[in-house]
């Protein structure tokens, strides 16, 4: 009996000892683990810093060789000619980008908004359940597939429709396909915004004798306007940054005077074109992709901040 107690005492003592040591271990863990996670979180900041730093330094080198005034005012972009005759006028690329973006928005805004209104105001729960996943599929298709589609289907189709035909590479076909790519995004973001409008408002309007169309246009849409417009702005940002569709179907002829049936070049397509060639490190052309990337980054950043600002500032709370 006595011996048993003794052994028990011993083991309890050792248990306490053990407990103490593990507790100090876990105390260390408690201090170290949050630091590790903090490092993870800070990496996203470093990524942004990395992007800004990279673009700024290389763009700076570029502007040491090419005047910044020429960059923003010249409308010719011919970097591949002999060094002295080379032209670096970003306007040609910006115009190409904006043309494609404009065409894309002409397609995406009406169709996307109409789909959103249909899904949130007219469709039954069953139809919505059927259509939403399909829109998600459209949104998940890789852009390379859309590019292939633009080149091998949309361009020949347009060529047969448009009198006088269309070049193999043109602005219209990638513009339309970029628009199609953005439809799901605008539709789903706008639908979210419209869904957030409380039902009592719809019911009130319906009770006053309004038709569904009038409810959608005069009650729901104005109430959801900030979210809807934010979705348009995000769509524009996506269109500006889109790369593969315009690279494959848009061609590589930078031009500031726009004919949508002719080949153009966008900022993104230019970066791809240079990355694909055997341009050496340190040449002016090499630095030019950073200057173009910087311009692209600034464009999309402004759009993204604008979208965030609109949806925050003008959101109506119910």
């Amino acid at each position: 009996m006595v011996s048993r107690e003794k052994s028990n005492q011993k083991s309890i003592r050792s248990m306490i000892q053990e407990n103490k040591s593990t507790r100090s271990q876990s105390a260390v863990m408690e201090k170290v683990v949050p630091k590790i996670f903090l490092i993870c979180a800070v990496i996203s900041i470093f990524t942004t810093l990395g992007i800004v730093f990279t673009l700024l330094t290389e763009t700076f080198t570029f502007f040491n060789r090419i005047s910044i005034v020429e960059f923003f005012t010249n409308t010719h972009w011919f970097p591949f000619t002999a060094d002295k005759n080379a032209d670096y006028g970003i306007l040609a690329l910006v115009m190409g980008t904006l043309t494609v973006t404009a065409i894309a928005m002409v397609v995406a805004i009406p169709v996307g908004l109409a789909a959103a209104i249909y899904l949130s105001e007219y469709a039954s729960a069953k139809t919505r359940k059927f259509i939403k996943p399909i829109l998600e599929v459209l949104a998940g298709i890789p852009t390379i597939v859309y590019g292939f589609f633009a080149l091998t289907f949309v361009t020949p189709l347009l060529d047969s429709i448009i009198p006088g035909g269309i070049s193999i590479f043109n602005a219209l076909s990638p513009g339309i396909v970029v628009g199609i790519m953005i439809i799901p995004m605008i539709a789903s973001l706008s639908e979210d915004a419209m869904n957030a409008v409380p039902n009592s408002m719809r019911e009130g309007a319906l009770a006053l004798g309004a038709t569904r169309f009038e409810v959608a246009m005069k009650v729901v849409l104005p109430a959801a306007l900030s979210g809807v417009i934010a979705s348009f702005v995000l769509g524009i940002s996506r269109a500006i940054g889109e790369t593969m569709i315009v690279t494959i179907a848009g061609g590589s002829r930078p031009t500031a005077d726009i004919d949508v049936t002719e080949s153009i070049q966008t900022m993104t397509a230019y970066i791809v074109q240079v990355s694909q060639g055997d341009t050496g490190y340190g040449t002016t052309i090499y630095y030019s992709i950073y200057a173009v990337g910087m311009t692209l980054f600034v464009f999309t950043l402004i759009m993204n901040l604008l979208a965030q600002f609109i949806s925050r500032k003008f959101r109506e709370e119910y």
Binding site: S26, M29, E30, V33, F37, L38, I39, C40, A41, I43, S44, T47, T48, I51, T54, L55, E58, V111, A114, A115, I117, Y118, Y122, I131, I134, G140, I141, T143, I144, V145, G147, F148, L151, T152, F153, I180, T211, F213, E214, L234, S237, T243, M244, T247, I248, T268, I271, V272, S275, Q276, Y281, I289, Y290, G293, L296, T300, L301, N304, L305, Q308
Partner: protein, 292 residues
């Protein structure tokens, strides 16, 4: 005497109801347009791609002759890139989410990280390519290797994983955390044994969807200098590589019709891979979705 002239009401209602009907028709038309495009896209790719689709197509290397060309190098390259991207982006993304949701105080710094992540999500993928080219390829001296490509892709999909993980962690109810604390568990023990397992299905769903986006991305790896024509598979992290979308881009940009059909065959494979990944994500979401 009736106060309401039914005749005129009917007349005015008629045009408004007609407008409603017409608008509804237009809205349905617009919605079906998207469905139609998807249908045409799938039909075209199947029609063009099926003739070249065979086991040889999967196991052959790229070739100048369309009959002999295959996607083996691209397929293995894609797997290599994912082998780097998946763990790196998962650890960084989930770590960030746990920090923001569990540890961070609601101060300006936390808000800054949050805004920063939202903005990163809107940066065009090609800009990530420029980042990778400068930081990983040139500064770190990794060259156009699997490692450089995988790290670039990780940063690209990081915001998506962070947001998805944050939402998953947020849905874990406060009560089970408190129960865990009540039993004497420390914060890290609670996170590791209670919160993380409960949030895992949501985190995995988000991660797989993010990875499937990375599988389809072309632009960043093109900028990074991934090769378009490769007749070997990567041997280690520092090998050169190609991926499926780049191989497809290479075929698409050639003028010959045969290569376009090869591209269509490759697209079928790519879409099957994405379909499988998406199905797994949906399966996890449905199977392990817990209601507390």
């Amino acid at each position: 005497m009736s106060l309401i002239n039914k005749e005129s009401v009917k007349k005015r209602m008629g045009s408004r109801v007609a407008a409603n009907g017409f608008a509804k028709f237009l809205f349905i038309l617009a919605t079906s347009f998207s469905l139609l495009v998807l249908g045409v896209l799938i039909y075209r790719i199947l029609a063009e791609g099926l003739p070249y689709l065979s086991l040889d197509f999967i196991t052959n290397f790229a070739s100048r002759m369309p009959e002999r060309a295959g996607i083996w190098a691209a397929l293995v390259g894609t797997i290599w890139i994912m082998a780097v991207t998946a763990p790196v982006s998962f650890i960084l993304g989930v770590g960030t989410a746990i920090y923001l949701e569990e540890y961070a105080k609601k101060n300006a710094f936390t808000k800054f990280i949050q805004v920063n992540i939202a903005n990163l999500a809107g940066v065009p993928s090609i800009v990530f390519g420029l980042l990778g080219l400068t930081i990983f390829v040139r500064l770190a001296g990794l060259g156009s290797s699997v490692l450089a490509g995988g790290l670039t892709m990780s940063l690209l999909i990081l915001p998506v994983i962070v947001v998805a993980s944050q939402e998953a962690i947020r849905t874990v109810p406060r009560e089970i955390r408190e129960a865990s604390f009540g039993m004497g568990a420390t914060k890290w023990q609670t996170i590791r044994r209670i919160v993380f397992p409960a949030a895992l299905p949501g985190i995995l769903t988000g991660t797989i969807l993010a990875l499937s986006r990375a599988v389809g991305e072309t632009a960043p790896l093109l900028v990074l200098g991934a090769l378009a024509y490769v007749a070997f598979v990567p041997e280690n992290l520092f090998s050169q590589f190609t991926v499926l979308p780049i191989q497809l881009y290479n075929w698409t940009s050639r003028p010959q019709e045969d290569f376009h059909m090869l591209a269509a065959s490759g697209i079928i494979i790519l879409m099957i891979i994405l379909l499988i990944m998406n199905s797994i994500a949906v399966y996890i979401r449905n199977k392990f979705h817990k209601r507390f």
